[in-house]
C-alpha cells in the first residue's frame, strides 16, 4: 500500500525507534522568536549546553515589537525580551532577522519568503501557527518552550506517530470567496477540535487551485481545528513559488531538487485514519460571531441562540460567548457595526492579501468612526506593497500603514482594541481578550475586512462584485 506525505516525511526523519517509545525525530529547521525562547536559552546556559545546529536555526522578533517607531520600545519588559533575544543569538551563534534587518517579519511569513521553508522538511517553532509552513508539503508544528530547548540542544524531538486525516475540499470557490473562508467554514462545520492528535492533509480540486499564499492561509489555521499540523502535497505551484529564492538550490541543482520533492506527494493508494469533506462551491464569505474560531457563520446568516447548542455545555459556551461579544441572537451579521479593522497577521498579511484588499479600496474611504490599520506580515511585503502603490491606496482610503509585526493579532505591543469595541480582523483567533481586554474580535478575509472598513459594518462582498472593480 502507498504512503501519505505525512508518513513519508516521518519515516525519513526517524533517528531512533524502539518499541513502546515515541520516535526520535530529526528537525530540519527550527524557527525562534522572542516570546517563547528566553527560558529555553537560559536552560541551555544553566546546563552548560550549546545549540547543536545553529545553521538549522533562524530567529526573528515579531510578537511584541511596535509597528510604529519600531526603535522606540517604551514597554521596558518587552524591550528586555527583545534585548535578551539579541544577546542569546549572539552568544549561541544563531542568525537573527532583527529590527534592522530587511528580512524581519512574522516568523511564519519570512520562513517561506526566504526559501527556508521547503517540501519534505520537519519544521518547528515555539508557536502554534507553525502549521503555516505545511503549505509547502513540510511537516511543521508548534512546540512549547521546553521542546524549544530540547531542539536547540539536540536538533530532535521525541514524538509519537500522529494519526493522519484527510480533509478533502472539492468544488470551485465562488467569486468573492477566499481561502480564509474555506478554513473558517471548515472549522465552523467540524468544530475547534476535529483535528486533535492528527496531522491533516488538505486535498482535493479546490486546494490544487489555490496559490501558495492561499494555501498558507489554510494551513495556518489548522491548529484552530485542533490539528497538530496541516499540510498540502507539493506540486508545480509550490516549485514555482520556491524557484530563485535564497536558501534553495539554484539552476540545475534546483531541478534535481524538484524531482526529489515530487516523490513526496501522497500516493494514490495511501490510506488515512479518517476523512472529512467540504464542498468549496458551497462556501460563502464567513464572519465569526463568538470567542473561538469555530463560532462563525456565513455573512448572510444571523447570530445563533444558545438553544442551538446540542449539549448543555455547548449552550453555556454559546451564552458565554454572546455575553462577551455583546450580541443578541437573531441579529443579522450584516447589521453588526465595527469600530476597528485590522489587516494583518501570519494568516493574512502577505502581498496577495494586501492586493485583494487594496483592489477593493481604490477610490473609497474608511467609514467615519472606524480606525483601520494595515500591518504587513514582513518588511519585504511592506517594501513590495509600497513599490506597487498598494500603500498609497490604503493611506488614501484612511488606513494606518505600519511596519511589520504580529501587532493587533495578539496585542502584546501597543496595538490593541479598547474594551467593548468591535474589530473586523484578518487574524486567526477571536479568543476573549486576544486583541485587548474586553475587545471583541470578528475573524474574516482581507476583502471582507476592507469592505467592513468602508461600510462601518459587515457586508457581503459578493454583492459588491469586488472582482470587477479595478
Amino acid at each position: 500500500m502507498g504512503k501519505t506525505i505525512i508518513e513519508k516525511i516521518w519515516d525519513r526523519h526517524k533517528v531512533y525507534q524502539e518499541e513502546a517509545k515515541p520516535d526520535l525525530l530529526y528537525i530540519d529547521l527550527h524557527l525562534v522568536h522572542e516570546v517563547t525562547s528566553p527560558q529555553a536559552f537560559e536552560g541551555l546556559r544553566l546546563a552548560g549546553r550549546d545549540v547543536r545546529r545553529p545553521d538549522l536555526t533562524y530567529a526573528t522578533m515579531d510578537h511584541n515589537i511596535p509597528t510604529k517607531d519600531r526603535w522606540s520600545i517604551t514597554d521596558q519588559i518587552a524591550k528586555k525580551q527583545i534585548d535578551v533575544l539579541v544577546d542569546n543569538c549572539n552568544e549561541f551563534g544563531v542568525e537573527l532577522a532583527g529590527l534592522d534587518s530587511p528580512n524581519n517579519g512574522i516568523v511564519h511569513i519570512i520562513g517561506p519568503e526566504l526559501g527556508l521553508t521547503q517540501p519534505g522538511k520537519t519544521i518547528v517553532c515555539g508557536d502554534s501557527h507553525t502549521s503555516t509552513h505545511g503549505a509547502f508539503g513540510a511537516l511543521a508544528f508548534g512546540i512549547g518552550t521546553s521542546e524549544v530547548e530540547h531542539v536547540l540542544a539536540t536538533q530532535s524531538l521525541w514524538q509519537n506517530r500522529p494519526k493522519t486525516m484527510e480533509v478533502k475540499i472539492d468544488g470551485r470557490l465562488s467569486s468573492g470567496v477566499s481561502a480564509k473562508d474555506i478554513i473558517l467554514a471548515l472549522i465552523a462545520k467540524y468544530g475547534v477540535n476535529f483535528g486533535t492528535g492528527h496531522v491533516v492533509e488538505y486535498r482535493g480540486e479546490a486546494i490544487r487551485g489555490l496559490t501558495m499564499e492561499e494555501r498558507m492561509t489554510i494551513c495556518n489555521m489548522s491548529i484552530e481545528g485542533g490539528a497538530r499540523a496541516g499540510l498540502i502535497s507539493p506540486d508545480q505551484v509550490t516549485f514555482d513559488y520556491l524557484e530563485g529564492r535564497p536558501n534553495v538550490p539554484q539552476g540545475e541543482a534546483y531541478q534535481a531538487q524538484v524531482e526529489e520533492w515530487k516523490q513526496l506527494a501522497t500516493d494514490e493508494d495511501a490510506a488515512f485514519d479518517s476523512t472529512l469533506t467540504l464542498d468549496a462551491s458551497e462556501v460563502k464569505p464567513m464572519v465569526t460571531w463568538g470567542t473561538n474560531p469555530g463560532q462563525g457563520v456565513a455573512i448572510d446568516g444571523t447570530v445563533p441562540a444558545p438553544e442551538e447548542g446540542k449539549t448543555e455545555t455547548e449552550q453555556r459556551a454559546i451564552r458565554q460567548s454572546l455575553d462577551y461579544m455583546g450580541l443578541t441572537p437573531g441579529t443579522k451579521m450584516e447589521d453588526i457595526q465595527i469600530q476597528h479593522v485590522f489587516l494583518g497577521s501570519c494568516t493574512n498579511a502577505r502581498l496577495s492579501d494586501l492586493r485583494e484588499a487594496a483592489r477593493y479600496l481604490i477610490g473609497k474611504k474608511v467609514a467615519k468612526g472606524v480606525r483601520a490599520m494595515v500591518v504587513p506580515g514582513s518588511m519585504k511585503v511592506k517594501r513590495q506593497a509600497e513599490e506597487e502603490g498598494l500603500s498609497k491606496v490604503f493611506i488614501d482610503a484612511g488606513f494606518d500603514w505600519r511596519d511589520a509585526g504580529c501587532s493587533m493579532c495578539l496585542g502584546m505591543n501597543p496595538d490593541q482594541v479598547p474594551e467593548g469595541e468591535r474589530c473586523a480582523s484578518t487574524s486567526n483567533r477571536n479568543f476573549e481578550g486576544r486583541q485587548g481586554k474586553g475587545a471583541r474580535t470578528h475573524l474574516m478575509s482581507p476583502v471582507m475586512a476592507a469592505a467592513a472598513a468602508v461600510h462601518g459594518r459587515f457586508v457581503d462582498v459578493r454583492e459588491l462584485d469586488v472582482t470587477t472593480q479595478a
Binding site: L24, R52, I77, V84, V192, N193, G411, M412
Partner: protein, 193 residues
Amino acid sequence: MEAFREHRGSVASLPYVNVDTDQIIPKQFLKRVERTGFGQFLFYNWRFLDGDSKNPDFPLNQPHMEGASILISDHNFGCGSSREHAAWALQDYGFKVIIAPSFGDIFYNNSFKNGLLPLRMPEDIVHSWLEKGKESTFQLRVNLEEQTIEDEEGAHHSFDIDPYWKNMLIYGLDEIGITLQYEDYLKEYEAAK
C-alpha cells in the same frame, strides 16, 4: 523535573469547554524572561475585575476551591497558543494534576515537560466531578504508578498514559540529558543526509 508518583489533593471545578491558553495566561504576562512567578496571573482576565478586585462569579474564586491542587475542566482544555507559560502558571498557582475529557495537543505535552500531570478521563466521570465540585470540594488521590484515581467513596478509576511520559514523571528525568545519550544515532543520521 520533580518526580511524580502519587498525589492526593482537593479539587477545583472549572466547567468550561475549550479553555484556551490565552485565558489561562493572558498575553500581557508573556514578556517575562523567567519561568517562575506566573501563578499570580493565572486566568487573570477571568479571576479579576477591573482594578484587580476578585471576580466573585469565577469558579476558582469560590472559597471552597481555595488550596485546590487538582483542576478539573471540560473538553479541549489548553487549546490554542503554544505558550508554555500556561503550564507554568497552573503549576505555580499550586496545581499538580489537570483532569479533562480532552486537551489541546501542545498544552498536553508542555504539561508533562514540567511535571504537571494532564489526565484524560471519560466524559461522564469528568462531568459528574465537575457537577460535584460546584458547591463543595472533595478529594481525589492520583496514583501514577498504578494509573488510577481513587475518589472519596473508594472507587478506583483507571486512566491511560503514554509509558514514555509515565516513566519520565515517575523518575523526574531530564529529557535533554537522555536524548544526548543518543548522540551516536544523531551523528549517524546527520552523516547520511
